[in-house]
C-alpha cells in the first residue's frame, strides 16, 4: 500500500515537472522563433530585392569563402597618377586547353566581351551565333555575336555569357550577366586586392 502511494507521488512529481518544463519551453520557443524570424526578415531585406533566398543556416554562417584573390594592379596615368586597374587573369577553356587571359572587371558592362578573334580559340563558330549590336563609349554601334565561354574561377568551371565584338580594338571584359550575378566581387582597399567568392 505504502509502495503504491510512493509510486503515485513519484509519477505526479514527474508530471508536474514536465508541465513546468513545457511552459518554460513555450516561453523560450516563442522568443527564439520570433527573434529568428525578425533577424531573417532583416537579412532578406538587406539583400532583398532580386529573388535572393536565404535560410536560417546563413544567419549562423554568413562568411563567404573567397575562391580567388587577385592583388591590385596599378597603372600610372599621366593625368591622374596612380590608379588601380581591376584586371584579373583567369584560365579560359580553349581548343588547346586552358589558357590564362586577362580581363577587366567592369560592373558598367551588361555582359562580358571578347574580340571576335578570340572566337576561334574558344571553339566558337561566329556564323552560327546570333548577331546583335553593342554600343561603345561614344555611342558608336558595333556588331557582336552572342555566345558563351568557359572559365576556371577558383577551382570550378563556370560558363559565362559573352559577346564577341567585331571591333578589333575591343578589350576583354567581365561584365554583369553571368559574372556579377554568380559571384561576389569585393575590392579590398585594406589588403589591396580583389576578392572573388561564390554567392551563397
Amino acid at each position: 500500500m505504502e509502495f503504491e502511494l510512493n509510486q503515485e507521488t513519484e509519477v505526479s512529481e514527474i508530471s508536474w515537472k514536465l508541465v513546468a518544463g513545457l511552459k518554460m519551453a513555450v516561453i523560450v520557443g516563442i522568443i527564439l522563433v520570433a527573434g529568428l524570424g525578425f533577424a531573417w526578415q532583416k537579412r532578406n531585406a538587406e539583400i532583398n530585392q532580386a529573388r535572393t533566398r536565404t535560410g536560417f543556416g546563413s544567419l549562423i554562417n554568413q562568411a563567404d569563402g573567397a575562391i580567388l584573390t587577385i592583388p591590385y594592379q596599378q597603372t600610372l596615368y599621366k593625368h591622374f597618377g596612380n590608379a588601380i586597374n581591376p584586371q584579373v587573369r583567369i584560365p579560359v577553356k580553349t581548343i588547346t586547353g586552358y589558357k590564362k587571359i586577362e580581363f577587366l572587371i567592369d560592373s558598367g558592362a551588361v555582359v562580358s566581351a571578347l574580340p571576335k578573334t578570340m572566337a576561334e580559340q574558344v571553339g566558337v563558330n561566329l556564323s552560327e551565333l546570333p548577331r546583335i549590336t553593342i554600343e561603345g563609349f561614344a555611342g558608336q554601334k558595333t556588331f557582336a555575336y552572342r555566345g558563351e565561354f568557359v572559365a576556371m574561377i577558383g577551382d570550378e568551371e563556370t560558363v559565362i555569357p559573352v559577346v564577341f565584338s567585331e571591333n578589333p580594338q575591343a578589350s576583354n571584359i567581365l561584365g554583369r550577366i553571368g559574372f556579377f550575378d554568380q559571384f561576389n566581387i569585393m575590392f579590398d582597399a585594406q589588403d589591396q586586392s580583389i576578392i572573388i567568392s561564390r554567392k551563397k
Binding site: K23, I27, A45, N48, A119, K141
Partner: protein, 272 residues
Amino acid sequence: MRFSTRLLHWFYQLSWKKVIGLSLFLLIVVMVPISIQVANNRTRTKSEAALIQPSVQPVTTAFQTPTGPPKIYLVDHFFGKVGDSVLIHGENLGGLHQQSSVVLAGQKISEENLVSWTGKYIEFKVPANARSGRVEINILGQRTSWPGIFFVTDDSVQTEINLNKSNSDPNLANLTGTNLEGGQELLVWLLIINGDGELKLTAGSGLTMTQTTMSLPLGKIYEVKLGLGKNLTQLLKVEKNDIQVVGIARAELSTGDGRLIPLKVNPLYVSF
C-alpha cells in the same frame, strides 16, 4: 527546497494565459535592444530599384524631323540569319512613326523586330520567314531603297566570300571565294571604314576587273566587278595602309542569266 525546484514549481503554477503573456512581455523587452541595434546598423536597402519589374525594351527612338528626302547609304551587314541585327545607315530617316516603315523583300518589318530608329540609322532584326530581297524605307510617305540585295542566310547557303588577312603582312588581304560555282560576275563593295588614302586592288589570275569609287558619309567605297573564269577561289588582292580598316559592304554573285546566288561572309573575315 532547491532554487531550481522552486523555479519549476513557479512555472508549474503559472496558468497558460500567463505563460503566453509572459512570453510576449519578454519578447518586447528583447526586441527593444535588437530594434535599436538594427536601426543603427548600416543598411544596403536604400534603393528599391531591383523591385521594379523588368519590362520589354521599347524601340529606341529619337525623332529627328527630316530636312529632305530619306537616303540609304548602306545596309550593314548585307546578309543575316533570322534574328540577326541589321543596320540601315542613312539620312533623314526621322524616327519611329506610324507613317514610317521598313520593308524587306516586300515584307514590312513589325515593331517587335525594330530595335532602334534615329535620323541616321535604323536597326532591325531579321524576322522569321524573311526572304532575301531589297530593303526599302518609307519615311512619312517618302520612299527609297538600297541598290543592293539583302541575303537571308541559313545552313543551306554555302556560297561564301571572305577577306583573309595575310599572315606576313597585316595590311594585305585576299578576297577568297567558296562554292562560287555557277556564278559569272561578282559585284563587291569594299568600304574604308577608318582612315584616308587609296586601296590597291589586284584581280586574281584569269579574272577581269572593273572598279569605281564613291564617297559616302560612312567612308569611301570601292565598287569592284569581277568577271569570273575558272578561278573561283583567289579573287582579289586588297592592300591598305596601317590606319585603314576595310570591310565588305555589299556583294552579289550573278549567273549568266542574271539570277543572283545567295552568299554570305564569315564574320571573322568581314573586315581587316
